[in-house]
Symmetry: C2
Subunit: 339 residues, 2 copies
C-alpha cells in the first residue's frame, strides 16, 4: 500500500494562514470565526482533501462516534434491528460495529470490553443471559437492552410485548375451537421465552383450559440456525405422537417455525386442514408458501430505531426508558376453526 501521509490540522492551518485552534473551531462548527476565515479554512480543507483523524479526536474527547451492537447471532431478526439502528445512526453521524456473542456469556463480556476499550458512544445489547454481570469498570459505557430484558440492571430497554403477542396467538386459536395447543419455545434462559410462555398460559387460563406441560416444548438451546430448526422439528415429532396430540401449534420464533413445518410436512399433516399453525416473525417468503403462514410479527426495524433513541436519552439526560412495542397477529391461511 502507498504511504503518503495524510494532511493534518497543521497542514490545513498553514495553508489557510490561521492557527490550528481556528481550524478545529470551524471543523466543529463552533461559530467562533468570521465568515471570511471559515471560507478560507474550508477551501484549504478541500484543496488538501483533509479529513479529521477520528482516533485523535476520540482520544481527546473520550468518546468515539461508534455504537456497538451485540447480538447472539446474525439471524434475520437481528439484521432487521441493525437496519433500524443504521437508519437512526445516520442522524448522529454514528457508525455501528456489530459483534456476535454466539450465545456465550464469556464471549459477550469480552465483546463488551473490547467495545468499551474503543470508547463507543454506547452499546445496544441483546443479552445471552437473563442476568447481566457488567464489571464495574465497564459501567461507564451506556448500555441499552434490546429484545431481551435482564433482571438485575437498571438499563433502558426496548422490547416487544411478548406476553401480549403470545396471548393473542393463543387466544385466536382458542377462539377457533382449539383446546389442545402445542407451543414450541426457544431457550428457557432468556426473557422472551419466558414471556411468550406466560402469554400462552394466561390465554389458556382465561378460557378455562387446563395447562398441559406435555404440550410445551423447548427447541433446545439457542445455538445457531441448524440447532434451532432441528429443535422445532423434534418438538413437533414428539408432539404428534402424544396420546392426545394437539390440534394447533404455535411456534415462537422463526427458526423453530421452519423446523416445525418441516416436521409436519414429513408427517404428512396438512396445514390448516389437519392441524392449525401460527408462527413468529414476518418474512416475504411466508406469503408464497402453501398455505401462507399466519404469524406474530415483530417490528424489528422499529426496535432498532427506538434503541438508538433510548441510548441518546440515556446519555444526554440520564433517563432510563422502557419502550414496549406491540406485536401483531397477521392472519393468512394456516389455522382454521374446528368448532
Amino acid at each position: 500500500m502507498e504511504n503518503k501521509k495524510n494532511p493534518t490540522l497543521y497542514d490545513v492551518a498553514q495553508k489557510a494562514n490561521v492557527s490550528i485552534t481556528t481550524v478545529s473551531n470551524v471543523l466543529n462548527n463552533k461559530n467562533e470565526a468570521s465568515q471570511k476565515t471559515i471560507d478560507r479554512v474550508n477551501e484549504a480543507i478541500r484543496q488538501l482533501g483533509y479529513s479529521r483523524n477520528e482516533s485523535a479526536r476520540t482520544l481527546k474527547v473520550g468518546t468515539s462516534k461508534l455504537v456497538g451492537l451485540i447480538v447472539p447471532d446474525n439471524n434475520p431478526f437481528f439484521t432487521q434491528i441493525l437496519t433500524g439502528i443504521h437508519e437512526e445512526c445516520q442522524n448522529h453521524d454514528w457508525q455501528v460495529v456489530v459483534a456476535t456473542s454466539e450465545e456465550s456469556e464469556k464471549r459477550q463480556n469480552e465483546v463488551i470490553e473490547m467495545l468499551s476499550a474503543r470508547q463507543v458512544s454506547g452499546i445496544i445489547l441483546a443479552s445471552v443471559t437473563s442476568k447481566l454481570y457488567v464489571p464495574e469498570k465497564l459501567q461507564k459505557v451506556p448500555i441499552v437492552l434490546i429484545d431481551r430484558e435482564v433482571e438485575n440492571a437498571n438499563l433502558p430497554v426496548v422490547k416487544a410485548n411478548n406476553v401480549e403477542g403470545s396471548y393473542k396467538a393463543t387466544e385466536t386459536l382458542i377462539q377457533n375451537g382449539h383446546r389442545r395447543i402445542g407451543i414450541i419455545l426457544a431457550s428457557p434462559g432468556i426473557s422472551t421465552t419466558l414471556q411468550r410462555k406466560e402469554g400462552y398460559i394466561q390465554a389458556l387460563k382465561r378460557y378455562g383450559i387446563e395447562v398441559d406441560e406435555k404440550l410445551m416444548f423447548y427447541g433446545g438451546d439457542y445455538t445457531g440456525t441448524k440447532t434451532q430448526i432441528n429443535g422445532g422439528y423434534q418438538a413437533v415429532m414428539k408432539m404428534i405422537q402424544l396420546p392426545e396430540p394437539p390440534t394447533a401449534i404455535f411456534a415462537t420464533n422463526h427458526l423453530l417455525m421452519i423446523g416445525a413445518v418441516k416436521a409436519l410436512k414429513e408427517a404428512n399433516l396438512k396445514i390448516p386442514d389437519e392441524i392449525s399453525f401460527i408462527g413468529f416473525d414476518d418474512h416475504p417468503w411466508q406469503e408464497i408458501t402453501d398455505p401462507p403462514f399466519s404469524i406474530i410479527s415483530q417490528p424489528a426495524v422499529e426496535m432498532g430505531r427506538q434503541a438508538i433513541q433510548a441510548l441518546q436519552k440515556f446519555k444526554e439526560k440520564n433517563i432510563v426508558t422502557t419502550t414496549v412495542l406491540q406485536l401483531e397477529l397477521i392472519t393468512r391461511n394456516s389455522y382454521r376453526s374446528i368448532t
Copy 2:
C-alpha cells in the same frame, strides 16, 4: 452515567513498579521482560481492571483493529457474508463496523471516507458501482471487493462464479427439454447481473437455442427489498402474457425469486407441472415450501471468510488475489422434464 476515570498505563506502571515502556511491552507480548516482571505487570493489570485505550493505540500506530464492511443493504446474503467475516476476524482480534451504501454511490464514498478516517485495517466492499472512483487520498486504506467486481481497480476480489452458476441452471433446464427460458435479472449496473446474463446466453448458444431478448427481464433498480420483490413479480406477469410464454423461469436472486413465485401463484401456474423454476440463494425455508425450490446456492459465509484472508494477504504481502468460489445447483422439485 458515572465518570470514574479509567486506569491508564501509568497507573499500571506505578502499581507494578516499572516504567510504562515495560507495561506496554508486556501488553504487546514483546517478550522483552523477565518473567517476574511480566507476572507483576499482569497482576497489576488484573487488579486495576485495566484495558488498553484503543484510540490512543490507533493514533500512535496509525491503524485500528477495525475492518469496515460496506454493503448495499442488509439482505440475508450480505448477512451471511458478515457471519463469515466475523468468524475470520476473531483470529485477528479485529472487529467489524458495518455500513450500508443504500445503493447510492455518493453514500458509498462518504462511508469509505468515514471508515478511512477511523484508520480501519481495511474495507470489504460490495460496490454499488461497476466503476470505482476512490479519491486519491483514500488509496491508503486497503479495499477488498466482495461479490461484485469493478472494472477499473486493481484490488483483491472475492466472488462467485456467476457465469458458470447461471450456465448450470440454464443448461439443466435445457436438458429437461425447455427451449423458452425466461430469466429475471437484477440491476444491469452491477457485475453479478452481467455475469449471470452471460452464463444464460452461453448455455443457450451452446445448445443452439436462439437468444430472445423478450425473455430477459430486469427486476428494476436494486433498491430495497420491496422494490426487488416487486421487480420479480412484474417480470413474471409480463412474461406469461407473451405470445410464446416461457416454459421455465430462472430468477437470479433471492428477492426476485420471491416476487416471481408470488406472481406464478397468483396466475395459478403450478410449479413444476405447468412451469419449471430455478431460483437463487439457499435458505432453510426453501425446503418447506410446496414444492421445495431448486436453486443456485452461493457460499456466502465462505465468501466472507475469504475476503478477510484476501485482505490480510493484500496488507501484509501486497498480493492482489482473485478468489472465485463455485456456485452449486441444488435440485429439489421445482422443474420437470418436458421432453
